[in-house]
């Protein structure tokens, strides 16, 4: 059974889309990430134009994040104060990204910037996470119990001004740290059309030092706000959000999300982190390979400037 997507201007098999949505929903439930960083490449692989894939991906991740945050609110596994600061940084970042996006597009290098950004970021984060989780698992085996890291490690981060207390997270750190992370993730979200959970979750654990149990819910708050702003901005500026595509993906993801949550509950925190690290590294590896391997065709084409105006004047 196929469905015609009015904005992507192509028809795709509904079951394939539902399966993609399901995969994203499962990951979202498991790791508390939106899954946009996987969804966008999957859609491009199906033949959806990259701009539509990115914008619709942002729209799609809102749904599982909303169900996720509602359950986090019920279980009180969310730091609202931290979340609010992340959101402020995130909104500023996504606004800045619109400007950067148009600059890169004029230079014809938007694809390169996105791919390189992904590879560097995912490679670094995935690598660090992987090493850390392996170390944690070893320690656990050696000690035979829950490892207890040092409670407080002083780095230059603790020397930053504007220190604030975050009672839920039991932290006393500079507000600039979460605001900066939020800003960075916001920029990336705008450029790549992703929620940014895959960057946010590790950054909150390793840079801010938040308890892992609170990170997922808190990052979902940021994902929702930033994805919503990206969706609206992309709709407004590029008409590239396909609601029909998003609806089918959302349907698939919502059915699968609870299974992800249930599966995640049976795993230990470091096992979860090692799985996420492997996933992130796999995506980074795939993108790096595409950058350096000889392309099948050196030439590519796309509609010239202002295709939107040309279409609407019909």
């Amino acid at each position: 059974m196929s469905i015609y997507l009015p904005i992507a201007e192509m028809s795709v098999n509904v079951w394939v889309l539902l399966a993609f949505g399901g995969a994203i929903g499962f990951l979202s439930g498991l790791f508390g990430i939106g899954g946009g960083f996987l969804l966008t490449p999957l859609l491009i692989f199906l033949g959806v134009p990259p701009a539509v894939a990115a914008a619709t991906g942002a729209n799609t991740v809102i749904a599982p994040s909303v169900s996720g945050i509602l359950s986090a609110l019920r279980r009180r596994t969310i730091d609202l104060k931290m979340g609010a600061i992340l959101v402020v940084g995130g909104l500023a970042g996504s606004a800045a990204s619109v400007w950067i996006f148009s600059l890169l597009r004029r230079l014809g290098q938007i694809d390169l910037a996105v791919s390189l950004g992904y590879v560097l970021l995912l490679g670094t984060i995935g690598g660090l996470m992987f090493l850390e989780s392996v170390r944690a698992m070893r320690r656990r085996k050696a000690a035979g119990g829950t490892p207890r890291g040092r409670l407080h490690r002083h780095t230059w981060i603790h020397g930053l001004p504007l220190k604030m207390r975050f009672p839920s997270s039991r932290l006393y750190i500079s507000a600039l740290v979460p605001a900066g992370i939020g800003f960075g993730v916001g920029v990336l979200s705008g450029l790549m059309g992703v929620g940014g959970g895959f960057i946010m979750v590790p950054a909150m654990i390793y840079v801010v030092g938040m308890p892992t149990s609170l990170v997922v819910g808190t990052s979902q708050l940021q994902i929702i706000v930033v994805s919503a702003s990206v969706t609206i901005l992309q709709s407004y500026a590029n008409h590239s959000v396909d609601v029909l595509l998003a609806a089918v993906l959302i349907a698939g993801s919502l059915v699968a999300a609870p299974y992800g949550v249930r599966f995640g509950a049976r795993l230990r925190a470091e096992q979860l982190r090692i799985l996420l690290a492997l996933l992130v590294l796999a995506v980074a590896g795939q993108l790096a390979y595409r950058l350096v391997s000889v392309p099948g065709d050196l030439f590519s084409f796309e509609p010239a400037a202002a295709p939107v105006a040309a279409v609407t004047s019909e």
């Binding site: 997507l5 009015p6 192509m10 599982p64 929702i224 992309q234 029909l244 065709d297 084409f301």
Partner: protein, 246 residues
């Protein structure tokens, strides 16, 4: 908008129904409006007609001309990067051709060039002066990509004659057929010359929910974005509520 399209269609039919030589060639399509519905997964369009006297028939289907940017990748520091780019105008968004006999047997190179018969004859205009070999490379790159994505086809379809006069051909429009105003040109060729020609318009447009969504997305872009967000958020909330009870 639909009314305007219809009026334009009628006007075009009126203009184009006058063949080069009176009634030497008459052709029409099974459908002038190809509706892309939500379930659209490609369709066939049938062109049929009759000829007066000897000759072979060539049918060319062209989508609306859309300017395209063609980019070439180059390896810089081990990474493949888009370097040079050329903007072409005049390239049809979609191109199909069919003939009653192999093109080389019934046409001369000059005729093929004049009527843009065959994808290697499609004329595209670059946005600036370029050395011919560079231009040829970019043009070939564009055509190759268009063929790979199914917008152009290298194969020449079959125009079959039913008896001495009546002919017909079936052209397949794939699921990714770009919407817009198409032209279907039927040429009657004799001794390497076109002795009669007829151009028939054809419209490919989205109808139903797809068309409404597309229209809404372009007319009220910000509201559309807001609705998209609300739908997603509501779906997430609804699912959360359902699965909590289960």
């Amino acid at each position: 908008m639909k009314l305007r399209v219809l009026l334009l269609a009628l006007a075009l039919i009126g203009v184009s129904a006058v063949p080069a030589r009176a009634q030497a060639l008459v052709a029409d399509l099974s459908e002038h409006l190809i509706a892309i519905t939500t379930g659209f997964s490609g369709t066939d369009v049938l062109l049929f007609g009759s000829t007066e006297g000897e000759g072979e028939v060539i049918v060319i289907l062209r989508g609306p001309d859309t300017p395209v940017v063609v980019r070439r990748k180059e390896r810089i520091a081990g990474i493949w990067i888009n370097r040079d780019q050329v903007t072409f105008s005049g390239a049809p968004s979609f191109y199909r051709i069919a003939a009653s006999r192999p093109l080389e047997e019934i046409t001369t190179p000059e005729l093929r060039a004049k009527h843009q018969i065959g994808i290697d004859q499609i004329r595209v205009l670059p946005d600036r002066r370029l050395p011919p070999e560079i231009l040829a490379e970019f043009r070939a790159g564009l055509l190759r990509n268009k063929v790979r994505q199914g917008f152009y086809a290298e194969e020449v379809g079959r125009v079959s004659f039913l008896g001495p006069r009546l002919f017909r051909t079936r052209i397949y429009l794939p699921a990714n057929v770009p919407p817009g105003a198409y032209t279907v040109e039927a040429l009657l060729v004799q001794g390497g010359e076109v002795i009669a020609a007829q151009t028939t318009p054809m419209f490919v447009s989205k109808v139903g929910i797809g068309a409404e969504v597309y229209d809404f997305a372009h007319r009220y872009a910000a509201v559309y974005g807001l609705v998209a967000v609300l739908v997603a958020a509501f779906a997430g909330w609804g699912a959360g509520a359902v699965f909590r009870k289960v």
